[in-house]
């Protein structure tokens, strides 16, 4: 595999603070941006992928690398000072006690699940592996209650899983890589690119996450508030374990140690026209803030195929505003085929999980209070996702 050259657009994304900083005369993040080990890590990662194993080993043993590892991480900048946590603080007894007390809402390993006899036609259509996964998910609901506190229903999930797993295998023919990067337990945020008129990318991620983790993890996609105001749609999302993107929901789920999927582009992601497909739009930054507070790693995820499932030729924004909907698209099939035109084309999906970005280990929860740092880190996530997309796009 040859070394991958970062495309031009990645370079633009890599220095998001440069323009406003120059306008102000001096950007306090300049020094952070230039000497950021996370950026270096990404670059090294990129370069290493092209190297042979022996060369990679040599690079790891190089004296420069050893010196870099020995270098103190505390920097002069005020931003660094506010966010870098000292070792002694990290090992405070009360902190450790609090960490030891953490109990995540976990599902048992698949091997430990005893399959109950099938009841109903949905159970009979599901294969034993699927039933085992769904039985594991039922543990997320406390006691005998039929719903969890966000409206998730294990019974309703059975039908949803059956339908979407069929689409996953047959219609979208999903291939995925890098599942090992999904943390096995504890809070985590999957951040991905968004595309397509209907959020099949999220649905495929839910199925993929369930199939490729043991103990199986329920991926809870964070959906736009607008979806919560739609009759039946709001019920479908809630019963399938998805949540509306409010601060309180995000905080609560991460505190419970759950796995969230966010599309930081938001609605802008699905508004992209065919000319801008696979080019990430501006990112919202709240997910970084919450991830830092909850000490959750952020896993960049690239969805290849989502932008091809319903390519938008034009978006009639005035009409969308008038109708109070996020997008009024013209696609090759919509509105010509009526509502059927919104349905996705049978494109092949690829889901690629990148290495987790553990910003919380370096910046700690205090970093969440630094808005410029949060913005910077959100751009780093964006860059990581863009790299994954560019590397894996056909």
């Amino acid at each position: 595999m040859s070394e991958i050259e970062a495309p031009q657009v990645v370079e633009e994304i890599a220095s998001p603070l440069a323009a406003p900083g120059r306008a102000l005369g001096h950007d306090p993040f300049d020094d952070l941006a230039t000497s950021d080990p996370l950026s270096e890590q990404l670059d090294q990662l990129e370069a290493r992928r092209g190297q042979k194993p022996e060369a990679r080993l040599r690079a790891r043993r190089s004296p420069e690398r050893k010196a870099a590892a020995a270098r103190p991480t505390l920097a002069r900048s005020s931003a660094r000072r506010t966010t870098a946590r000292s070792e002694e603080e990290r090992t405070k007894p009360d902190n450790l006690a609090r960490l030891a007390q953490r109990r995540w809402a976990t599902t048992p390993p698949l091997a430990e699940i005893e399959l109950p006899p099938p009841k109903g036609w949905v159970d009979r259509l599901l294969n034993p592996d699927e039933r085992r996964i769904l039985a594991a998910f039922a543990h997320l609901v406390e006691g005998e209650a039929p719903y969890d506190r966000f409206g998730y229903s294990p019974e309703a999930m059975k039908t949803t899983f059956l339908i979407f797993h069929t689409l996953y295998r047959i219609y979208f023919r999903v291939r995925s890589e890098g599942h090992e990067h999904i943390p096995g337990e504890g809070p985590a945020v999957l951040a991905g690119n968004h595309g397509g008129l209907l959020p099949f990318d999220a649905a495929m991620a839910v199925i993929d996450g369930a199939l490729h983790t043991d103990p199986p993890r329920l991926v809870r996609a964070v959906v736009d508030r607008w979806a919560g105001s739609l009759p039946w749609v709001n019920l479908f999302y809630a019963r399938a374990g998805q949540v509306i993107g409010t601060r309180e929901n995000f905080d609560k789920l991460l505190r419970e140690g759950q796995l969230l999927l966010v599309f930081p582009e938001g609605i802008e992601g699905i508004r992209k026209t065919i000319a801008h497909r696979y080019r990430l739009q501006d990112f919202r930054v709240g997910f970084v803030e919450h991830a830092l507070r909850a000490r959750a790693p952020i896993v960049p995820v690239a969805f290849i195929g989502s932008d091809d499932q319903s390519p938008i030729l034009f978006d009639i924004k005035p009409l969308a505003r008038r109708l109070g909907i996020p997008v009024a698209p013209i696609t090759p099939t919509f509105p010509w085929l009526g509502p059927l035109g919104i349905l996705p084309y049978p494109v092949s999906y690829r889901i690629i999980y990148g290495e987790p970005l553990r910003y919380h280990e370096r910046f700690g929860p205090e970093g969440a209070d630094d808005s410029r740092l949060v913005r910077y880190l959100a751009n780093q996530v964006r860059r990581a996702i863009q790299l994954l997309i560019d590397r894996n796009r056909p």
């Binding site: 005998e144 506190r149 105001s229 739609l230 009759p231 809630a238 949540v243 509306i244 409010t246 309180e248």
Partner: protein
């Protein structure tokens, strides 16, 4: 030792609060106030000549009776230092109740009670039960709300919720008072064994048909009346002030809660709800919808109770569910865990 005044002690939650406080050895005197005659369950406290509990009939919404109570010799002799405000919620509570001086009955009560607590130097603690329906509900089947979530300041909100919000803001304004410790407990739908529902904007009251928005089935956070009484006791005992969400572990969709509590829920298309509300008002029928159909019929919520757990040491202890009663019928029950 604490000497406590409890309002609306003749109503279900009030009775539960009195019972809980009665068994607290730290409570020396309980002055129970109510609109009607003392409930029969009080016979055990009152008939024995127990000086710990006294029952007095007072209309808390009117200035003169409240003024007379707080300035009476009996009140001074009782040396009350804590006031527990239980709002009116039983059969007498009505969204079309006559206004008192332009205010809803509940708002008038909270205003008068707070004013007299501030004026009476001996009173050091005011514990008030409020409703969690004061929050602005974001779209969605179930959203998690904390004490810092926005309040619903929509002018078109239904009158009952409007009254809750007014009361909430009245108590909220004195939360940082140096002399008077004010604790506001925001509770969601309160349920009691036998299938009784209190403090829910549409399900409270006698069983009957209730409408909900078609295509929506909001999750309702629940709390047992016994847990509410425990929360009041925790607030009396713990020297902290502030606003706390109190909720149980259960949360069920509105349709299921309606079924559990003997109501029939009728899904009505959203656009028709507003028209139905306007028609009900025009005909003078008690409307439980609110202009525009009421967000509580579409969007549900659950409550973050971490602050209550941390500061008050309150954790819900009662589970809520259906159980088969002696006559074979399934009824809503609460059970301690």
């Amino acid at each position: 030792m604490t000497r406590i005044l409890v309002s609306h002690a003749d109503e279900p939650i009030g009775r539960r609060v009195i019972k809980n406080l009665y068994h607290d050895p730290d409570v020396e005197v309980i002055l129970a106030l109510g609109n009607g005659p003392p409930p029969r369950k009080f016979d055990a406290y009152l008939a024995g000549g127990d000086p710990r509990v006294t029952y007095t009939r007072v209309d808390l919404a009117k200035h003169r009776p409240v003024h007379d109570l707080f300035h009476s010799a009996a009140f001074r002799a009782a040396e009350i230092d804590t006031v527990v405000y239980v709002p009116r919620h039983g059969a007498g509570a009505s969204v079309t109740a006559p206004l008192v001086g332009g205010l809803s009955e509940q708002t008038a009560e909270s205003r008068l009670l707070l004013q007299h607590c501030l004026e009476t130097r001996a009173i050091q603690n005011l514990i008030a039960i409020g409703s969690a329906f004061v929050y602005r509900l974001p779209p969605g089947n179930a959203n998690h709300l904390s004490e810092d979530s926005e309040l619903n300041l929509d002018p078109a909100v239904m009158p009952e919720i409007r009254a809750w919000i007014d009361c909430d803001m009245i108590f909220h304004s004195e939360v940082h008072n140096d002399r008077l410790r004010v604790v506001l407990l925001r509770v969601p739908t309160v349920v009691a064994a036998g299938g009784y529902v209190y403090l829910h904007p549409s399900l409270a009251g006698r069983p009957g048909s209730r409408v909900r928005a078609l295509g929506f089935d909001p999750i309702c956070a629940l709390v047992s009346d016994k847990d509410v009484a425990r929360a009041v006791r925790a607030a009396v005992q713990t020297p902290v002030s502030g606003i706390f969400n109190i909720a149980g572990a259960e949360a069920v969709p509105l349709s299921i809660l309606a079924r559990w509590t003997g109501h029939r829920s009728i899904p009505v298309p959203g656009p028709l709800l507003g028209m139905l509300d306007a028609t009900e008002r025009a005909l003078g029928i008690e409307s439980r919808l609110g202009a525009g159909g009421g967000a509580h019929l579409r969007y549900g919520f659950t409550l973050d109770t971490d602050r209550a757990a941390e500061k008050l040491g309150f954790r819900s202890q009662y589970r809520i569910g259906l159980a088969r009663a002696g006559d074979g019928a399934l009824r809503l029950e609460t059970a301690s865990v």
